[in-house]
Symmetry: C2
């Protein structure tokens, strides 16, 4: 058997095209996997909840718009084309005064609300 991916798998993922299919806020959608990590696209608008991922770093890349990640010692502001890694165990709260389009990269199974849970917890592992 060949280890080459199937033709379907050999298509690149167009991030803007996938984002155009997302109509909810705070609902990450998986677009690709690398080993046991997932690439997730998500649209944020407004304030999320303070939370922590105790077991993993979490990467944010802004595709369009501006993202503010509140940390307990001050905010980090990300514009399009900027990347920030929230270290594991660090409390954070993503906020966006205007809608922002973001790619998250993190291990498979990470919940958007981390340790916090609650009503803002999105269904996990949904692909688009």
């Amino acid at each position: 058997m060949s280890t080459s991916p199937s033709p379907a798998v050999r298509s690149p993922i167009n991030l803007a095209g996938k984002l155009a299919l997302i109509h909810e806020h705070w609902a990450p959608r998986v677009v690709a996997e690398m080993n046991d990590y997932q690439f997730k696209l998500v649209k944020f608008h407004g304030d999320f909840v303070w939370h922590t991922h105790e077991d993993t770093d979490e990467t944010f890349i802004v595709i369009h718009g501006q993202l503010r990640i509140e940390l307990r010692d001050g905010p980090v502001i990300l514009n399009a084309g900027e990347l920030f890694v929230v270290p594991k165990g660090v409390e954070h709260k993503p906020c966006a005064d205007q809608e922002v389009q973001v790619m998250l990269i993190e291990p498979r199974g990470v919940l958007n609300t981390g340790d916090q849970g609650g009503e803002r917890t999105a269904t996990n592992d949904l692909w688009i």
Copy 2:
């Protein structure tokens, strides 16, 4: 002790700004880490060598320009804002007829030439 990152670590990484500091082709530079994975920026121009990473998938995201990843059963063409994951064990050869700016995401320690080695092997783990 606080687990918050230091102020220096709390700055976002501007991908275009970092790429402007890179003047060599085929010489990946690390800009961030997430757990044991690295984000590397690199400029390609021309053809690379066929190689394989036997132990890991490898992610390519095109920041500017066009990248062609040759696979044994045909090429994948990526434009800016597109992502492709080369599965582990799959032979590939990155090519760029014009200079292309790329972000690679892969575990720390992965060599650019994979199993192939040779004179195109870049020094690993250089940060910018």
